[in-house]
């Protein structure tokens, strides 16, 4: 009688721990670089190109209100057309709201917040001056015009208006 040899099969299970580590590394990277505030920067607006513009820098404590102006002069908030006066009034009220109930916020004090205007390069001056006048009316004295750097993106200058 021949003894049958029994082969014991080995179940090969890959170790998923290293691949899971790499995936978590990638997730952490994308979570750190994702910016939901960038959604407020309308990508459909083509900014003008300027050679002498300074790199963007804002104080971390400074509040700012972003105004995306398309080439027809309309204010766009997350892709939707909004009324400029109403939007500015809402934002200014939120900024002037005192953090401490005891401190009264005067409506006539100049705003410490800045208005950041991202206007399309084909926006007519009359629309732009209307936006600037509205900002001034609501107390903004610090206004920043966003542009593209000519050195960083030389091809942007040649795009048609």
């Amino acid at each position: 009688m021949v003894a049958k040899s029994r082969r014991i099969g080995l179940a090969a299970e890959p170790n998923l721990t290293p691949i899971l580590d790499m995936v978590f590394q990638l997730i952490t990277f994308f979570m750190l670089v994702v910016s939901f505030k960038a959604a407020s920067m309308d990508p459909g607006i083509r900014l003008p190109v300027l050679g002498s513009a300074r790199p963007s820098w804002q104080e971390t404590d400074q509040k700012f209100v972003v105004l995306n102006i398309d080439k027809s002069g309309e204010l766009r908030v997350y892709g939707q057309v909004c009324d400029l006066e109403q939007y500015l009034a809402t934002e200014v009220n939120a900024i002037r709201k005192p953090s401490r109930p005891r401190r009264r916020a005067s409506g006539n004090e100049p705003l410490s917040a800045a208005a950041v205007i991202r206007a399309d390069k084909a926006t007519p001056f009359t629309k732009l001056s209307g936006v600037l006048a509205a900002c001034k009316k609501h107390g903004f004295s610090n206004v920043t015009l966003k542009v593209l750097d000519a050195e960083a993106q030389p091809e942007a200058r040649n795009l048609p208006l």
Partner: protein, 172 residues
């Protein structure tokens, strides 16, 4: 009396099935990869506008927003008017520094440089009379020429005022 051998059950290793967790991690990763969009690096031009109550100006200039580069008074500074007219498509058509018509941005810079040099240490206040139809890009190009002229001249631009030209008779 023989002792009974107590057979202990062999220890079973508890293995954690990571396949489900890996699936979820890949789902999250795909979400972030698809929503990730690198934005172009933006630069900025800062302006300080005087408050409405403290606006000083003549005629229409008083109602328009002005950009004040420094806090100094512009009473003793020379006043220079730059006129920009736009074509029907909004592009710049004619430019003039005072009464001198200039052909292009290079000539504009030269005229501004000459005017700023003449103004001397008192500086200069530039009044930009801009056609209502002029495109924003062209306006910024002119402002850039003004700042370049200031950098090359010994004089300083104390204030820049924008006046909107609404007279359609100026357009061709």
């Amino acid at each position: 009396m023989a002792r009974k051998k107590v057979r202990r059950k062999p220890l079973q290793e508890a293995s954690l099935n990571l396949a489900a967790m890996l699936d979820m991690a890949f789902q999250l990763l795909m979400f972030f990869v698809l929503t990730f969009s690198p934005a172009p690096i933006e630069s900025q031009v800062q302006m300080m506008m005087p408050l409405a109550s403290s606006a000083i100006g003549v005629g229409a200039a008083a109602e328009k927003p002005t950009a004040n580069d420094s806090g100094s008074s512009s009473q003793t500074a020379g006043r220079l008017t730059v006129t920009l007219l736009a074509a029907a498509d909004g592009r710049i058509r004619d430019m003039a520094v005072g009464n001198t018509v200039v052909a292009d941005l290079g000539s504009l810079q030269k005229e501004l440089l000459g005017a700023l040099t003449k103004a001397g240490s008192a500086g200069c206040q530039i009044v930009l009379q801009v056609d209502a139809n002029l495109h924003y890009q062209d306006l910024l190009d002119v402002i850039e020429q003004c700042t370049k002229s200031e950098a090359n001249a010994s004089s300083k631009i104390q204030q820049m005022t924008f006046v909107e030209l609404r007279d359609k008779s100026l357009r061709r």
